[in-house]
């Protein structure tokens, strides 16, 4: 009798478990699509490290921005599929791609304006909310992580700009990355992964400073930079 009762109860559970699994599969598929978009935008933006890329920045950024239309559509589907109360349930699935896309948005904005993207701007470009209460959102930790990735990418850009013969860009990059480092120095971070990446920022700052040094000692640093 107890046996029959147990069987009945467990049969009900299976339905629930299956529907759970289906949702998880759906989320995974949607995230995979977002990753594909992110990869494509990254491929577009990689050109900035080459001679020709540095000469056609605005065109490159425009092209990248165009891809973000797809991203926004994809996030709309994802947001529709995840109830607000379960954002953090599946958060691990999309955390990485959100960081990646936020970084790409920040890179575009920097290349266009040499300014730091705000969290609101980043959320808007991705097509998600800016605050947690509003639903599917750009989490602060993820935004901050993406600005650290930006610093790292810019330190690489400083090197490649020199190769491409652009000697003033590293000086501007050094100033920007320094500002960013000052910003992070104000924060008392609790998130361990963020903290570790923040340590890496020091190396990026140092690397850019050394590029400026190499230019300075050889008299290659433009007077106005």
């Amino acid at each position: 009798m107890e046996a029959a009762r147990v069987t009945e109860v467990f049969c009900g559970f299976q339905k629930y478990i299956d529907s759970e699994q289906d949702k998880r599969d759906e989320v995974r598929q949607l995230v995979k699509d977002l990753e594909q978009s992110a990869r494509e935008i990254l491929a577009v933006m990689q050109i900035i490290h080459t001679d020709e890329g540095l000469k056609t920045i605005s065109k490159v950024c425009e092209k990248a921005r165009h891809h973000f239309e797809t991203v926004r559509a994809q996030f709309a589907v994802l947001a529709a599929c995840v109830p607000p109360s379960e954002y953090f349930r599946f958060n691990d699935h999309w955390r990485f791609v959100v960081q990646r896309l936020s970084f790409l948005a920040a890179l575009i904005v920097y290349m266009e304006s040499e300014m730091l993207i705000t969290k609101e701007e980043a959320a808007a470009i991705l097509g998600i909310k800016s605050s947690r209460e509003a639903g599917f959102h750009l989490d602060l930790d993820d935004y901050l992580t993406s600005t650290l990735t930006l610093a790292s990418e810019l330190s690489r850009l400083a090197v490649n700009a020199v190769v491409a013969g652009d000697y003033s860009r590293p000086v501007r990059v050094a100033s920007f990355v320094g500002d960013l480092a000052n910003g992070f120095r104000l924060l008392n971070l609790k998130n361990d992964s963020l903290r570790k990446r923040c340590d890496a920022l020091k190396y990026d700052v140092k690397k850019v400073e050394e590029v400026v040094y190499d230019l300075s000692i050889r008299g290659l640093r433009p007077a106005d930079a």
Binding site: E40, A43, R156, V162, G165, L215
Partner: protein, 277 residues
């Protein structure tokens, strides 16, 4: 290996009779696996030697000789080791033995694609590699007699169609070999710096960036965890080559660039084979 017959048990038991058969099958499979592991290891060692040889290209005064020697050694690897693997694999599912031959295959792809780059400045394609892994069995090969697989091959050779043995190269293995190639390209770029080949690092930088872009677009993690790990290394390698280009550029800025190569050449220690030039 027939020694297990020495174990005494009730030979009339149907279980024992069946297990005697399993014993033979398992031993045959394990033996083949072992032989393939050994042959793969030979391929690995020889391929590594070819890569080492190719790295001498950069400092060498007789680059043609280096390439020629590499081409010879590649043919040697193919004819003396990979062909044997092909014979072992006849009629087999390559994926069953993939773990045995994978290290050798990857290293061979690495060596061949490195050679290919040095001769053509382009990336080798999968069909190009695959075509070198097919062996016409029409002509008798001396080492063939040794293994069981070979006799089977010989038997089928006596039938109608011209017998061919091949090692099917899975795309996954080819991909991993190409990812490894970039490590060697990075080393090439760094050593080029020291011997005054000022153009090569820039050229390599472009080529490696193209490969990196390829992997980034395809998505390393989408392929396999192994590819993802190698792409991370590839990224580091590209950064190293970029740093090398940067060093060349800032140093070169201090003097007329046409003198650059001369200066490096002077700095090069007198090679023993200078007279050959």
């Amino acid at each position: 290996l027939g020694e297990t017959d020495a174990i005494e048990v009730n030979e009339s038991s149907p279980v024992i009779i069946a297990f005697r058969g399993f014993q033979t099958q398992l031993d045959a499979k394990y033996d083949k696996h072992e032989r393939l592991v050994k042959k793969s290891r030979d391929v690995t060692i020889q391929s590594k030697r070819i890569i080492f040889l190719l790295h001498r290209y950069v400092g060498s005064s007789n680059k043609e000789a280096v390439l020629k020697e590499a081409e010879q050694k590649l043919e040697e690897v193919e004819q003396s080791f990979i062909k044997q693997i092909a014979l072992e694999l006849q009629g087999e599912d390559v994926y069953l033995y993939l773990r045995a031959i994978s290290p050798g295959l990857q290293e061979y792809v690495e060596a061949l694609s490195f050679y290919h780059y040095l001769t053509t400045k382009s990336l080798i394609t999968l069909p190009e590699v695959q075509s070198r892994l097919e062996f016409d069995l029409g002509s008798p090969c001396p080492e063939a007699e040794q293994t069981d697989a070979d006799t089977t091959a010989a038997a089928s050779a006596s039938a109608g169609t011209p017998p061919v043995a091949r090692v099917p190269l899975p795309t996954s293995e080819f991909m991993l070999g190409i990812a490894d190639l970039t490590g060697e390209l990075m080393r090439l770029a760094i050593s080029s710096l020291g011997v005054g080949d000022a153009a090569r690092p820039f050229e390599l930088c472009g080529f490696m960036r193209a490969i990196l872009d390829g992997f980034l677009t395809v998505g390393g993690a989408a392929a396999s965890r192994e590819v993802a790990r190698k792409v991370a290394t590839l990224r580091q390698s590209v950064h190293k080559v970029e740093a090398a280009c940067y060093a060349l550029r800032v140093r070169g800025s201090e003097m007329p660039s046409h003198r650059l190569a001369d200066v490096f050449r002077e700095a090069e220690p007198a090679a023993p084979d200078t007279e050959v030039m």
